[in-house]
């Protein structure tokens, strides 16, 4: 990636001078002059559409990086970014993402899964006894771990099945937290019943650690939905909740088309409570009776990738692709 030229007359050396507290701004402050730099970075890096009305979020979300880099304000940080984009772009783009999530978020999608989707897929996959689920923007892991808890609680009925849950996110810091399986008191009280807390966690100091059997069913990988998928993957269920809403229409269309190539023809994709795929009927249709659930429309070209020729699709030369899933054991038995 090439460094964007700094549009700022102030020298970057300003950063070094800045231990001083940033001046207090009125709440209704106009966007900083460097706003377009941040908006552009988000658009390129994560697809996040950052509107001027949201510019007040910049200061709050970037304050830690500003402190670390010794930058007094957003314009100074933008200048530092122009000097060292390869180091600062990922940090800044990731800090600007909203990582809000909680266990069993919205509840209904999980109830629905248990009541109708899993029984149907279980019957359809009874020969291979394998289910693959992808949480495509898993943040700090609560979504894939909620799924893992559901399978653990139905252990007997899934005996002998390979249940693979993949959690991916763009944010490296979110993934580090997800892998640790360590949550604060606040986090374990949102969405989790006390019964589940006692069953699946142990207390470590002031925090709560998920037990190994829940963690071992989930793999985490960094993956940017803006990039092509590794190819050769086929999932029965894809969770893409509360992430598409941050993209503009074009980006959303690209990401959806991509997700569709990785979804089994009889699989489902699940969106957030406030999201719909209205306008994308060519790709997905609402799954009967399940709010927020969509099934792929029929497409013969797609079956070349999914489900028949797993692992046989290779990226075009020079094209950046995300790494494919690498489950250490092919079948993680419940």
């Amino acid at each position: 990636m090439t460094a964007p030229a700094s549009p700022f007359p102030r020298p970057a050396a300003r950063c070094a001078a800045a231990g001083a507290a940033p001046a207090l701004r009125p709440v209704t402050a106009a966007p900083p002059r460097s706003f377009p730099v941040y908006a552009d970075l988000c658009a390129r890096y994560s697809g996040l559409k950052f509107s001027e009305e949201k510019s007040y979020l910049l200061e709050a979300r970037l304050s830690a990086i500003m402190r670390r880099e010794g930058c007094a304000d957003l314009d100074a940080l933008a200048a530092a970014l122009a000097k060292d984009p390869s180091r600062l772009e990922p940090d800044i783009a990731e800090a600007l993402l909203n990582n809000e999530t909680f266990f069993f978020r919205d509840r209904a999608p999980f109830d629905e899964l248990q009541a109708s989707v899993l029984p149907r897929l279980k019957a359809a996959r009874s020969a291979e006894r394998r289910l693959r689920i992808w949480s495509a923007a898993c943040s700090t892991g609560q979504e894939p771990y909620s799924l893992s808890m559901m399978f653990a609680e139905e252990r007997a009925s899934w005996h002998g099945w390979g249940i693979e849950i993949l959690g991916t996110d763009l944010s490296r810091s979110a993934l580090t937290r997800a892998r640790s399986g360590l949550y604060t008191q606040f986090e374990v009280q949102r969405g989790l019943s006390t019964h589940r807390l006692l069953q699946h966690f142990t207390k470590e100091g002031e925090r709560w650690r998920l037990k190994n059997d829940i963690r071992s069913r989930v793999r985490f990988l960094p993956r940017n939905l803006m990039h092509p998928l590794p190819g050769g993957e086929c999932f029965d269920i894809i969770f893409a909740r509360n992430v598409l809403m941050y993209f503009g229409r074009e980006r959303k269309a690209e990401v959806l088309a991509r997700l569709r190539t990785a979804l089994a023809p009889d699989g489902v994709i699940i969106l957030g409570a406030a999201e719909t795929l209205f306008g994308f009927q060519d790709l997905f249709r609402p799954a009967a009776g399940s709010r927020g659930y969509y099934s792929p429309t029929l497409d013969i070209t797609r079956t070349a990738i999914c489900p028949d020729s797993r692992g046989t699709v290779h990226p075009a030369r020079g094209e950046h692709r995300e790494s494919p899933i690498a489950f250490p054991t092919p079948n993680q038995r419940v």
């Binding site: 008191q185 006390t194 006692l198």
Partner: protein
């Protein structure tokens, strides 16, 4: 409208909890210890009880044991709300018949999540 009895010896906590619960359209009554709470339940059984652990006269756990041992027409939902945040206390509360458990400090988000958990909102 659901009724809620807030049992806590701290006036401040009762006030904060009352404000949150009223936002969710609960009818509120208050008690400062377990004995007072038992008396209140004797005259009118609330739908839900928000219960502190450590209180003078009668603590939360003892109140709960008494409450669950009593024959009553209605079984109120009991949500512990306490600074005791280790597994032993939580387990003891659930074994004694609590439906949910909130570890202080709480906020609106947590109260809401727990009320949803027990199906009251």
């Amino acid at each position: 409208m659901h009724s809620c009895l807030i049992v806590d010896d701290s006036k401040v906590i009762r006030k904060v909890a009352r404000r949150i619960l009223e936002d969710f359209s609960f009818d509120i009554d208050e008690a400062g210890d377990g004995q007072q709470a038992l008396d209140r339940c004797g005259s009118a059984m609330p739908d839900v009880i928000l219960l502190d652990w450590n209180m003078p006269v009668m603590g939360g756990l003892q109140f709960l044991q008494n409450l669950r041992a009593r024959p009553a027409e209605k079984r109120p939902t009991v949500i512990f709300c306490t600074t005791e945040n280790d597994m032993e206390h939580i387990r003891a509360a659930m074994d004694a018949g609590a439906d949910e458990y909130i570890m202080k400090p709480f906020d609106r988000e947590i109260i809401k999540a727990k009320l949803e958990q027990v199906g009251l909102i």
